[in-house]
Amino acid sequence: MSRALRFVPLALLLVLIAGLVWRLATPADTTVGSKLAGKPVPAFRLPAALSGKPGLSSQDLATGKPRLVNIFASWCLPCIQEVKVLERLKARGVAIDGIAVRDRPEDVADFLARRGDPYERIGSDLQSQVQIALGSSGVPESFVVDGRGIIRYQHIGAVTERDVPTILARLEQAK
């Protein structure tokens, strides 16, 4: 067997390892650039997800002040961790609205009572139609919407403590 050929596997392995090392070294980037960033929120009107809290429509998002729209569900595990972080954001003055995806009113109420409630308004998106229109493919996801109702930033996955500075910075930029 020729000498060069014998070293091919080793060379390929080195390339592969280099690629994987690079991948591990770059922090996992969960911000898939939203196709909708810079575009206005698509028009929608969602009914209230539970009694005692108003529903959510696209007009409610253009209030002159940046808002965080959080897509969540009572059946979503990471949302349980996330809601605590959102409560802390709320304590720092962030206005947060929720879209409950494929959820039942009693489950949403139970979730809010047990896990925390940072939301001003919650719309019920039974068929995921608004979620899809927003370009979100999973739960949870969050959007920074500026005062004119334009999407500025999409965060995929749960908002963790580590994401708080990014979210606050994006909200600041959206002012």
Partner: protein
């Protein structure tokens, strides 16, 4: 106490693995005979690791909530089987299972293998110890399964409901036996390359291990595919996602190895290639484990990514595969190829088989890692989906299936007989199937049509090796090969039929309403609440008929409390000619319910074929073991008699 005992056993085993490695290096350098000691050490090391794993099982069965892993993955209200399965349904536990299989396989190798020369045996056990040592370090430093939690919480967080299924409870262990069984082939190749003893004897020693690992992989993949089919509720059996590819790649390498090793055993040829495959097989297992465990390739919705673990696994991967490839490059020159062969021969057939399998392996590998490299180069994010894999792997797999009918008929070294005449009948059947499909279903797409054609041809061609000789006198290994090759035809027919003939209905139905799917009329009778040990559910009661007395089905939308999660339990009715697959979704709020119905003709053939492929392997393995045992007994008898 039990958790501490398990941890202690693990540390002791790691110490013994280090000792085993040191002994091997010393023995190889000084040329001393450390074989007996090393075998004993390997066996004790395997026993200790097994003890640690049993301790973990005990901790889970008792739901000991002072152990962090139990808290995170179990719950006192869970059924017994799933408490047990919870032990390996998580990162730490599954890595302990991985090490356990590695160490126990090493122990069996030490206890059973008598074919090898002393030096190669020492080098092999040394290599196995080096593998084990790395994974012990990984467990003890980065993934301790026995870590305590203080104070202990009153209740655990539960196991992902999707995993609470008998099929899945035993699916990971089966796959792990396969993945890690390949480590023995890796160590044997490494040892033989080190001592320059790559020969037919090595191939015969390696063959049962490869075969056994391959059988487990085959059954594991087949079972996993069926689990995905009925549990995920999407009606698909293979999604080409990274986790599935991680199990497919070692299988492809093992399948190629399984065939090339016969050439080495029978003819002393394909030495370098076979050693390469033996290394690649276990490397693919490690790559797969790395991809799944590091979170590098999971989708953007992956939540638990631990860079430390990923780095550790990558280091092990680079170390082991790098060492093996470097040794291969260094020793490759000294691998003298064995007996020559002509163009039309069994050897050529097996070489083509290997090339095709390797190309498919390469394509799946590239497809799986492609998104990673595109992102590294251009920063763009994309995913490679089923259309790519079907397009590139499908045609190659079909060509391979055609050759599966030819290869086993050819003689070693050179074929002078007119064997291709034997293939007239199968070829005519294939053409017949093609013509019939064109007449009956002109709209069918290309791949399913060719799939049906090749399946019809291969169903007959695969049994020719038994027809051309007296089937009762054929060795069990030949029977095994025929059963496995026939299984390919069966699975292929199932895949083609599923792709071509599936009918699907998605609709909202009110109780009393009827929906049509394929030849069936399905009526939603009513929706009732029901409950299980740790879930509540809404159950749709369906009655389906196609002229005969109706069949009742009860798909459920289940709601698990710990952890809170909803799953769809599909209800499937199986008939000789297909499956009726039903899923109930959400209510529309106005008295209607989402129903998804599929009629999938002959879909069961996919798993039946997969099972036959694995069964064929099992037949071949028992035939080989039986034969070598008989030979050994005969040799001992002769020795006694003439001593």
């Amino acid at each position: 106490m039990i958790a501490e005992a398990g941890l202690a056993a693990l540390w002791l085993a790691a110490g013994l693995a280090a000792l085993q490695l040191v002994l091997a290096v010393a023995a190889l350098r000084a040329g001393t005979a450390a074989g007996r000691t090393m075998r004993a050490v390997a066996i004790i090391q395997g026993g200790l690791t097994l003890t640690a794993f049993v301790m973990l099982l005990v901790v889970f069965v008792r739901t000991d909530l002072s152990v962090a892993l139990v808290v995170e993955n179990s719950h006192s209200a869970k059924p017994f089987v799933y408490k047990l399965a919870g032990a390996w349904g998580n990162h730490e536990g599954s890595m302990l299972l991985w090490v356990t299989v590695l160490a126990v396989a090493g122990a069996f190798l030490a206890a059973l293998s008598r074919r090898l020369g002393e030096r190669t045996m020492i080098a092999t056990l040394g290599s196995q110890a080096a593998l084990a040592l790395g994974f012990y370090a990984f467990l003890l430093i980065a993934s301790n399964p026995f870590a305590r939690l203080n104070p202990a919480p009153p209740e655990g967080q539960g196991l992902n409901p999707l995993l609470q299924d008998p099929g899945l409870a035993f699916h990971p262990p089966t796959l792990y036996f396969g993945y890690v069984g390949l480590s023995v082939a890796f160590s044997l190749a490494f040892g033989a390359l080190l001592t320059n003893e790559v020969d037919a004897r090595l191939a015969r020693a390696m063959r049962p291990w490869v075969l056994a690992a391959w059988i487990f992989l085959t059954f594991g993949i087949t079972a996993g595919s069926y689990w995905a089919y009925y549990e995920l509720g999407w009606g698909g059996y293979w999604f080409w996602d990274p986790v599935e590819n991680a199990s497919l790649m070692p299988w492809l390498a093992a399948t190629a190895l399984l065939h090339s090793i016969n050439v080495l055993a029978a003819r002393g040829a394909l030495k370098a290639w076979t050693m390469m495959l033996a290394v690649v097989g276990f490397s693919m297992s490690m790559v797969g484990t790395f991809l799944v465990r590091s979170g590098v390739l999971t989708s953007v919705h992956a939540f638990a990514i631990d860079p430390q673990r990923g780095t550790f696994l990558l280091g092990l991967l680079a170390l082991y595969v790098g060492a093996a490839f470097a040794l291969f490059a260094w020793r490759g020159a000294s691998l003298k190829e064995g007996a020559p062969f002509e163009l039309v021969s069994r050897e050529t057939g097996l070489v083509i088989n290997n090339l095709l399998l390797s190309v498919i392996l390469g394509l799946v590998f590239v497809g799986t890692l492609y998104p990673l490299f595109v992102e590294a180069v251009t920063g763009e994010k994309l995913s490679v989906g089923a259309p790519y894999f079907n397009l590139v792997a499908g045609p190659l797999a079909l060509i391979l299936a055609v050759l599966v009918g030819v290869g086993p008929l050819l003689a070693w070294r050179r074929e002078r007989r007119p064997v291709f005449r034997l293939l007239t009948v199968p070829a005519l059947l294939g053409v017949g199937a093609l013509v019939i499909s064109i007449i009956l279903w002109p709209g069918m797409t290309v791949l399913p049509r060719l799939g049906l054609t090749v399946a019809a041809y291969l169903a007959v061609a695969s049994i020719l090796p038994l027809v051309v000789r007296n089937p009762l006198r054929a060795p069990l290994a030949t029977w095994g090969m025929v059963v496995a090759h026939f299984g390919i035809a069966v699975a292929l027919a199932g895949m083609a039929a599923n792709a071509a003939f599936t009918s699907e209905t998605l609709a909202v139905a009110r109780p009393g309403e009827r929906l049509a799917v394929g030849p069936w009329l399905v009526q939603l009778e009513q929706v009732v609440p029901t409950a299980g040990p740790n879930w509540t559910a809404l159950e749709g009661q369906l009655s389906a008929s196609r002229g005969d007395p109706p069949v009742t089905l009860a798909p459920q939308s289940r709601y698990f409390r710990d952890p809170p999660m909803e799953t769809n339990e599909a209800a499937i009715a199986t008939f000789w000619n297909g499956q009726l697959y039903t899923v109930i979704g959400k209510p529309d709020g106005e008295g209607g319910w989402q129903l998804r119905l599929w009629w999938k003709p002959f879909v069961t053939l996919i798993w039946l074929g997969g099972g036959m492929i694995g069964l064929g392997g099992a037949l071949a393995l028992s035939g080989r073991l039986w034969r070598s045992r008989r030979r050994r007994i005969a040799a001992e008898w002769r020795k006694e008699r003439y001593a």
